[in-house]
Amino acid sequence: MSNIIGIDLGTTYSAIAKLDDHGHPAIVPVDGERIMASCVYAPKADEGSLIVGSLARSSLDHEPESVVKRFKRDMGTDKTYRLRPGMELNPVTASAAILRKLTQEASKELGPIHEVVITVPANFAERQRKATIEAGSQAGLKVTNIINEPTAAILAYAAQKAVKGTVLIYDLGGGTFDVTIAKVNGSEIECLTSEGDSELGGMDFDQKIAEIIDQKYADQYGRTLRDALGLTSEEDERKSTAWQSLLRNAEECKKTLSKMPTAPFNFYEGPDGPLKTQVTRQEFERAISSLIAQTEMRVETALDNLDLSHDDIDEVLLVGGSSRVPAVKESLKRQFGKEPSEGVNLDEAVALGAAIYAGLRTDKGNLKPMQREKLSKVSVVDVANHYYGTISMHRDDELGSEDLRVSIIIPKNTPLPCSRSETFYTVTEGQQFVHCRVTQSGNDETDPEFVTIIMEDAQLGPLPPGRPAQQPIEITYSYDLDQTMHVRFKDVSSGMVMERTLALGDKQSSTISVPDFRID
C-alpha cells in the first residue's frame, strides 16, 4: 500500500500532509517545521547544489540573486530565473524542486512516495494547472489529481467540525486569493462557485509596507530608498540584498501589526544612513485598502454568481496565513455582520484537505479498512471553474451584421461531471467542412480575442456535398471528474462525427528544459 499524500504548493509556504492509518489527515514536518518556505537557493560556492526551504529563504539576506521565491505567480509563463551561471530555473523546475524536497523529507518518515494530490488556486487557468502537474512529474511524482485550494480547505474543516449550511471559504494566502461558496452537510461537500485573484496575497501586503518605508526614507533623506539603491526594475529588486532585507522586515512588521497597533521598523542598509521609524496599523490599513476592496469585490461576485446575499451565508471560514490581518477580518465582519470562523489551522488546512482528497481519489484497494470507513462518508462535488464554448458566427438582426462570437456550452459553476449539447448550423450552401474549436475563459466573454482556445486544429468533414446551408451540427461537451473533457461535433443528418478527449490540466509533453541538480 502506498502513502496517501496531499501537497499544498503555496506561493510563500508549502506543506505536505498524509492520511494516517485511521483516515485522519496529518502534517508531515519538513526540517522540523510544519510548513516550508517556498524558496530555492543555488549557492555560488557550491555548484550543482540546490537548497530548498528555510535555509534558502534566509540566504536572501546575503545572496538574494541566487534565490528564487514567489514563482507560483509565474506558473504557466515562460519566465526564467538565472540563479548563477549555468543554473537557470523556471517556475516549473523551481516548483519541482519544492515538491522533491517535500516528498524526499516526508519519505524519510513514511517510506517511498509515488502518488500525490497537489492543490492549486481555484481560479488557476489551464496553463497554470498544466504547469503544476508538469512540476509534479519533474519531481518524479505521479500527480493523481489537482484540487482547488478552497475545496481542500473545506474538506479539512468538515473533517474536524460538524458543519451544515452554506459556507463561504475565504482563502487569502501568500500570493493568491480565492473565495469559494459551498454547501456542506457533514462530510458531504458541494462546491457552488469560486472567484479569485491569482495575483493578490500577503506578499502584496508586504510590498505595501515596503512602499511606506520607501516613502519614510525619502522624507528623511530626500530620495527614496529605491533611488538610493538604484533599483529600476523588479529584477533589480530581486537581486538587491538591501531590498530583500526590507521585504523580510516588512513581513515581520505585518505580523506584528496583526497583534499590536504599531510596529517598530529599523532599517540599517540604506546608503544614506539608518532609518529608525515605526509603522502604525492605520498607515498599513490605508495602504492595503485597495487590496481589501478587491477581495470584497470578489466576494460580492461569488455571491452574485449564485444570486445570494451576504445574509445567505451561514458561516465564513478563514483560510490562508494572510487572513490573520485584522483589516481582513474587519472587512468580513463589516460585510457579513458576523465574525468569521477560524475553525482550521490557517496555514495547514489546504495540505490536510489535499491528503483527504488523495484518499478519495486513490484506488480503493490502496486504502486500509479504517481509512476506507472514514472516507466512505466524505463526498465532494466540484464545479467547472471556467466557461467552455466554441466560436461561431453570430447574426445581429438589429445591426444587420454578422461576426464571430464565443458561444458558451458549459458555463462556469456547472457541477461536475456534466454533459451539455447545443445545436449550431452550417453557414454556406455546399459547406463540407466545419472548423471545430473549443474555448476557455474566466468570464462569459463573447469576443474571441479575449478567450483561450484550447482546441483549434480539428475539422468535421468532408460532409456530403450539395446540401443547402443551415445543416444542424450538434456540439456536445462532457466534462468529467478527472479533469478531462470529451468534445463531439456531429453533423446531424449524415451522422458524421469529430470527437476528441481533451485533458484539462493534464500532463502534456514538456518542452521545458530541466537543469541537472541535486537537493542537499
Binding site: 470584497e296 445581429d396 462570437r405 463540407q432 472548423h435 474566466g442 460532409l463 443551415q470
Partner: protein, 424 residues
C-alpha cells in the same frame, strides 16, 4: 448569450466560412505551374494551367470524390506601385472529372451581398474597373478564358491563388458587416456546358456608404457623425492634424463609395457639417454641438448609423495612441445618450482601444471618468458597475497573452481604488 435559440440562427463559422478566419487550416502555397497574367495595373491574375496535363500528375483521387471544386476567399494586405492595397484573394482547389476533358475552359466569378438572405441571389457587388465589369452593367464579373484545354482529371489538392482584386475598387450595396457570396462557375466554351461550381462566403465590414443606402438619411447621419467625431477630437482642448486626418479620411471614403454622379452633393453636405462643427467648437459650443449631433442620429432610428458614428469616435479617440480621461468620459456619455447596447459598445470599445494607453492614472476624478463612474450614479449602482468591470478584467488576468494580463492588472488596480473611494 443568444445562439441557436435565436430565430435568426447562430451560424457556425466553419468549412468555407471558417477558412476566412483561419488560414492555418489550409496551405496556400500557390501550387505549381502557374502562369501569371497581368490584366490591369491593379489586378493580378494567377491562372491554374492544366496542372494535370501530362508532365505533373495530380494526386490520384476518384472522380466521384466529394472534394469537388472548392473556392476560398481571403483578404491580404498587399502593395501595388508602393501603395498599400487590401486585396481580396480568390483561391481554388479540387479535382475535375477524371473522365472529361475541358476543351475551352472558362472561369467566371461574381459576387453578391447575401447578408439578409443567404439563399437569395442577393444584391450584386459593383466594380469600378471596366475589365472586371459585366458586359452591360457595372456589376463585378471576372471572366478568365484559357487557351489550353484542361485534361481529364486535372486539378490541385492544394489551394491555388487564382486572382486578387483590391477591395477598395468594389462597390457594395450596403455598409456595415456584410456577407458577400462569391461564386465561381467553370464552363466549357466549346459546348457551353457547366463543368463545376463553387461558392464561398466572405464576411466583411463595408466602410463608407453602400449604393443602396438611404441617400438622404445617410447623408444627414454621416454629417452628424462627423460632428460628433469633431467633438471627441476637441475634447482634450485641441483638434490635431492626425485627428483631422481620421475624420477627413472617413468622409472621403464615404463620398468615394457613392457612384460618381451622387458624390458631389454628399461632398457638400459633409463639408458643410464640418464647417459648422469648426465654427461651434471655436465658439465654445462643444456641448451643444454634441447634443445636436446625437439628436440627429437618434432621430434616424437606424442602429447602423449610431454604431458607425460611435466607431468613428473611437477611431478619432485612439489616433494619438492615448485615451485621455476627458475623451473617455465623453465617449461614455455619447454611447449612453445614443442609447447604444452596452455589450456592443463594450465589444467595439475593446477592439478599438486594445492598444491604447489610458492616461493619466491616479487622479481620482479622472479615474472615475475612465471607469465610467458618473456623479448621477448611486452608491449601489457604482458598486455593481465596478464589480462588473472587475469581473471582466479578473477573467482577462488569466489570458495567455501577457500584454492582456498586464493591461487587466492596471484596470483592476484602478477599479479597486475607485471602490475604496466610493464604497469605503
Amino acid at each position: 448569450m443568444a445562439n441557436n435559440s435565436d430565430n435568426s440562427g447562430c451560424l457556425i463559422a466553419a468549412g468555407v466560412g471558417a477558412i476566412l478566419f483561419s488560414f492555418t487550416l489550409f496551405s496556400d502555397n500557390g501550387g505549381a505551374g502557374l502562369v501569371v497574367l497581368v490584366i490591369a495595373i491593379v489586378l493580378i491574375v494567377m491562372g491554374a494551367r492544366g496542372s494535370g496535363s501530362g508532365e505533373s500528375t495530380p494526386p490520384a483521387i476518384p472522380s466521384s470524390s466529394p472534394l469537388g471544386l472548392q473556392l476560398m476567399v481571403s483578404t491580404t494586405a498587399d502593395r501595388i506601385e508602393n501603395q498599400p492595397v487590401k486585396m481580396l484573394e480568390f483561391h481554388i482547389k479540387g479535382m475535375f472529372s477524371a473522365h472529361h476533358r475541358i476543351a475551352r475552359p472558362r472561369f467566371e466569378f461574381r459576387m453578391a451581398d447575401v447578408t439578409d438572405s443567404l439563399s437569395a441571389a442577393g444584391d450584386p457587388v459593383l466594380c469600378v474597373i471596366d475589365d472586371l465589369q459585366d458586359d452591360d452593367s457595372t456589376e463585378f464579373r471576372f471572366k478568365q478564358n484559357f487557351p489550353d484545354a484542361l485534361n481529364a482529371g486535372s486539378g490541385s489538392m492544394e489551394w491555388v491563388r487564382f486572382v486578387g482584386v483590391p477591395v477598395e475598387l468594389l462597390g457594395f450595396p450596403q455598409t456595415g458587416n456584410r456577407q458577400i457570396k462569391v461564386s465561381l462557375k467553370v464552363t466549357d466554351l466549346a459546348n457551353g456546358q457547366l463543368i463545376a461550381a463553387a461558392n464561398a462566403i466572405w464576411s466583411t465590414r463595408v466602410e463608407g456608404v453602400g449604393y443602396l443606402g438611404m441617400e438622404e438619411e445617410e447623408s444627414e447621419a454621416q454629417a452628424a457623425s462627423l460632428q460628433l467625431a469633431m467633438c471627441i477630437a476637441a475634447a482634450d482642448g485641441n483638434v490635431d492634424d492626425d485627428e483631422v486626418a481620421v475624420i477627413k479620411n472617413w468622409g472621403d471614403k464615404s463620398v468615394k463609395a457613392l457612384p460618381e454622379a451622387r458624390r458631389m452633393s454628399r461632398h457638400e453636405a459633409l463639408n458643410d457639417a464640418l464647417s459648422e462643427a469648426t465654427r461651434e467648437i471655436r465658439a465654445s459650443r462643444l456641448f451643444q454641438l454634441e447634443a445636436d449631433a446625437i439628436e440627429v442620429l437618434k432621430n434616424k432610428g437606424e442602429p447602423r448609423f449610431l454604431y458607425d458614428a460611435y466607431e468613428l469616435c473611437l477611431n478619432v479617440l485612439k489616433t494619438d495612441g492615448e485615451a485621455h480621461p476627458q475623451e473617455m468620459a465623453q465617449l461614455t456619455r455619447i454611447s449612453r445618450k445614443l442609447g447604444l447596447d452596452e455589450t456592443k459598445v463594450r465589444i467595439l470599445t475593446d477592439r478599438h482601444l486594445a492598444d491604447v494607453e489610458f492616461k493619466p492614472v491616479g487622479d481620482a476624478s479622472e479615474d472615475d471618468q475612465i471607469l465610467g463612474v458618473t456623479d448621477d450614479m448611486s452608491k449601489e449602482e457604482i458598486r455593481k458597475h465596478l464589480n462588473k468591470l472587475n469581473k471582466k478584467h479578473q477573467a482577462r488576468l488569466q489570458h495567455d497573452n501577457p500584454e492582456v494580463r498586464k493591461k487587466s492588472k492596471e484596470w483592476i488596480d484602478r477599479i479597486s481604488k475607485a471602490r475604496v473611494r466610493h464604497i469605503g
